[in-house]
């Protein structure tokens, strides 16, 4: 019995090191909100919510905080505000910070880090042998196997409807979802690794607003996504981003492949 217990403890150790800040999500499917190109030339684009498979992966339980990011900058000076190439971040990079290594007081330590570009977020994750989550991974985590879906949607819409600039919540303050993941709703928008895998705004809107473009409304939407304006807002937001952009409401978390 003791031997079994010791074996269990030993065999669990590496995994629990990961599990402290990350949660292992089981594989599964979710309904992707996507522009699906039709196969034949000349056909219109249609939006369809097809089930998308996602393999099991690790995801940070909460968004990356100012405190976390400061630790990264201490050892990766090239990503500090005064050093970062303008190729990798616009002029608002970490603009809420007081200085290169000062996020402006202890009250900000556990706030989500924002004002970070895709390049900086990606470099942070890579420094920890992680990656940014793919859009599929992120959306799959949010979908949460459909648990409390209507409540989550209401929460999302209420959040999206709130004006920017209100007092930001601490990272990890909200209740975890069914997977044990926090902050997906209500704290910050989040970078995904393939944010640029969707064609830009004009593609979403369609030509002159009269064919398969999403802004045209229900006619071009599959039934399962016709009411999902919250998802539409996320995809539109991602489609509007460029990798060097930084804004005060855009943060990130990291993921790791399950080996």
């Amino acid at each position: 019995m003791i031997a079994i217990a010791v074996f269990l403890i030993l065999s669990m150790t590496p995994r629990s090191a990961v599990a402290e800040s990350m949660v292992l999500l089981p594989g599964g499917t979710y309904r992707s909100f996507l522009l699906t190109p039709a196969s034949k030339k000349g056909e219109k684009r249609v939006f369809r919510a097809e089930p998308t498979s996602v393999k099991s992966f690790y995801l940070d339980r909460q968004v990356v905080t100012n405190g976390d990011f400061l630790n990264f900058l201490k050892t990766h000076s090239q990503w500090r505000r005064s050093n970062i190439p303008s190729l990798f971040a616009d002029e608002h990079y970490l603009s809420s910070w007081s200085a290169d290594l000062d996020f402006g007081g202890s009250k900000n330590k556990n706030k989500a880090v924002t004002g970070v570009s895709w390049f900086a977020a990606k470099a942070y994750c890579e420094s920890l042998d992680k990656t940014l989550p793919t859009t599929d991974q992120w959306e799959y985590a949010l979908y949460d196997r459909g648990r409390g879906l209507s409540r989550v949607k209401e929460k999302i819409l209420a959040w999206y409807g709130r004006p920017n600039g209100e007092v930001a919540l601490d990272a990890g303050a909200s209740a975890p979802n069914g997977f044990g993941v926090r902050d997906l709703v209500g704290v910050v928008w989040e970078w995904t690794l393939d944010f640029n895998s969707f064609l830009a705004g004009e593609e979403l809107r369609g030509e002159s607003g009269k064919d398969g473009g999403l802004f045209c409304g229900g006619a071009s939407l599959g039934k399962s996504s016709a009411d999902d304006y919250a998802a539409f807002m996320r995809y539109s937001f991602r489609a509007s981003l460029k990798a060097k952009y930084t804004t005060h409401n855009l943060g990130f978390r990291c993921a790791r492949e399950k080996k």
């Binding site: 030339k41 056909e43 190439p85 303008s86 190729l87 640029n196 460029k242 990798a243």
Partner: protein, 200 residues
């Protein structure tokens, strides 16, 4: 729908010798330059291989204007048009040695250096002026991000991608970008010529 697939083209301003090894290039860079300017594409340290299988970084392009397209060789429709547009831009450029033309592939799986070399032969690309680049998915992702190129691999391994033409100068700084296929390239060519003049 494939007609809406858009290929990406970037004009880079730079020097590049196809026969230059990574080692030689390194020495060259050290003696000639310091760190790249902050808005230069040369800040990307992603790894690539040329059609000759040589390991390079984008900084190999330093020194002269050039044209780079992100596309892939098995692209069914728009990529051949992009290569043709680049060929025409190359043909109209007065000083033949003043710019370089670069094809960076999205397709890390299929577009091996060997395949890129074969493609160059099929398309009659002059390898004294052209370089074709194979990179890892991560390298492709970073370059596309830096250029504002949007792309997605579909289940069949084809790529939907946006068409962006970018002019960068000899230091790797983006000087002009043009989106869309079959666009008027006159403005781009004027800017390219003026950059090329400065590097004679």
């Amino acid at each position: 729908m494939r007609s809406q697939i858009i290929c990406a083209m970037v004009i880079l301003g730079s020097v590049f010798s196809p026969g230059l090894s990574a080692h030689e290039h390194h020495e060259h860079a050290v003696e000639k330059t310091s760190a790249p300017s902050k808005d230069s594409l040369f800040n990307l340290h992603s790894k690539w291989q040329t059609q000759e299988g040589k390991d390079v970084e984008l900084e190999m392009l330093r020194g002269r204007p050039a044209v780079l397209a992100m596309a892939y060789t098995s692209c069914p429709s728009s990529c051949p048009m992009i290569v043709e547009e680049m060929r025409q831009i190359a043909a109209r450029l007065k000083n033949k040695d003043a710019a370089r033309f670069v094809f960076a592939s999205f397709d890390a799986k299929r577009d091996t250096p060997e395949r890129l070399k074969k493609f160059a032969g099929q398309r009659k690309l002059d390898l004294n002026r052209w370089v074709l680049l194979h990179g890892s998915p991560n390298s492709v992702q970073e370059l596309a991000a830096a250029l504002g190129v949007r792309y997605k691999e579909d289940a069949q391994g084809e790529f939907d991608h946006s068409n962006v033409i970018t002019l960068i100068d000899a230091e790797g700084v983006i000087r002009f970008q043009e989106s869309g296929l079959g666009q008027e390239t006159q403005k781009l060519e004027e800017k390219l010529s003026s950059l090329a003049e400065g590097h004679r």
